[in-house]
Symmetry: C2
Subunit: 337 residues, 2 copies
Amino acid sequence: MTAVIPPSVAAARGLVEPVLRDAVARLDPLTSRVAAYHLGWADPAGLPAASGGKALRPALAILSARAAGGGQEQGLPVAAAVELVHAFSLLHDDIMDGDRMRRHRPAAWTVFGCSAAILAGDALLSLAGELLLEEGGLPGLRAARHLAVATRELIAGQALDLEFEQLAEVSLAECRRMSTQKTGSLLACACSIGATVVNGPAPLVAALTAFGTEAGLAFQLVDDLLGIWGSPETTGKPVLSDLRARKKSLPIVAALTSDTPAGERLARLLADPLPLSESDLRDAARLVEEAGGRAWAETEAKHRLDAAEHHLAGADMPPDVRAEFLDIVRFLTSRGH
Amino acid sequence: MTAVIPPSVAAARGLVEPVLRDAVARLDPLTSRVAAYHLGWADPAGLPAASGGKALRPALAILSARAAGGGQEQGLPVAAAVELVHAFSLLHDDIMDGDRMRRHRPAAWTVFGCSAAILAGDALLSLAGELLLEEGGLPGLRAARHLAVATRELIAGQALDLEFEQLAEVSLAECRRMSTQKTGSLLACACSIGATVVNGPAPLVAALTAFGTEAGLAFQLVDDLLGIWGSPETTGKPVLSDLRARKKSLPIVAALTSDTPAGERLARLLADPLPLSESDLRDAARLVEEAGGRAWAETEAKHRLDAAEHHLAGADMPPDVRAEFLDIVRFLTSRGH
């Protein structure tokens, strides 16, 4: 079943979008045009469109302010800033990874060119900091520092991902570290930055960070499964896209390092310098499954979700906030199933 | 004559480099390797080298703290942060502009690839904010806000520059606005951010901003002149490089909009879709001169320098600080003459 978007996520989108639009309106005409397209508000010609992301990170950021006793309005600037950093990273990652599709539409760099997409990503990253700092005072300072450290981690994860492209072999531990940095760090930041802003107690910030890190890893595992077995309707990308791009995603690395005949056959197939045919790709997906990569990723996603729930259960927060956190993380990890 | 590097610039380099090295050491191995190369501390293999920039912006930032009565140590974090933003912008601009040489060496993207260079630029931009914010307290907050706004302007200037590539005609006013944003905004920030950090009086911050904006424009005019008539020893780039790249720099746009026969011949030459021969390039340089573009840029650089000195004279600061500011800005605008 495809899970229904939790009400708190839909509400967060409605709250954060005006803040994001105001912020993007400060940018010069070129980068604001690219940003409006990338964020799903405009088509390539700049005409209004509606195909934006789901505002999961903003919803988590707002919840995290409420977890520490703050109001949702205190979470709004951080929610917008986290979404801007997320948008920056997708813009630049698509260029680096050569990904031509994003959310069922051509990636921004294929529409506006690499230079404009690089510059728009730069603008969004810088704008995220500007937005937090103009709130003034120490809450904005704490939030901006929190976000800057998470951004450094996010970049470190993407750096590992780039380095993997040059390596013949990647261990499961390295791959997990990459996913933790690339997906876990910003999700952990989203889950805890609201609590940082309202100066919540350190144990709560730590528990929410641990919750977000585990949830991020569970989310990445599900995303990696979709990258092989997801339908284009769910992923917005072609079928078997991660195998097509020979990405070293978690289920693929689990299969490659499984020490099984299927894992060895998969390694030989992916090492072939010639382009993979559709039939090769289907074989590769079957070999990942046969080598246990699919089952491992499914079980691991469940374990990470359990660990996330455990951290959440141990944190002191209003019961309705905890329930909404759970709703979102379960939604995140049930897409396309 | 080639001016001698002012002592305050050499001193600033010695003070700021350890701060920069500490900051860059936090980054992941890939982006810190690219950054160390780009900043001139390492060769492509990561072995020590010494070919970094001149630390002009850090020297200005430190002076600006002293102008407001602060110590040079109060200017160090902002000096490092401004240099990181400058390094980020050069890294990304070289990719966007297709510039293959930077400071007598191959540009980072030609050595490490576009993806690694994009990511390293991202890392440096984010690190600049992180550095300022960890100082804690309101001075860091003020500085980070100041730098974020200047970065937005800098990006707007680069956006205009990218848009110029698509335009058949660019007016001198548009070209000047682009240069003011692209070069003036970060130089103005360097000249005033130290005063912001030590909470200097608003009129001083305003005067230093105006001084830096005019100095930045003077600097850009000189740089544009060097981009046509500078020797490779001075510029670190091939001769006639701006004409080769058909850049719409200030002297070129002044010539194109001069309403002279030479300006019209220049326009026809540059509009030719075929690659320009060495003889075409020499002709183009001669036409810029004949159309008055060179004389205009030289006079304009002098006017901007005068305006900068006027703003400096009107600002209240210790005489030795004023003298060092003057030294630097005169050095900036006398390179290669």
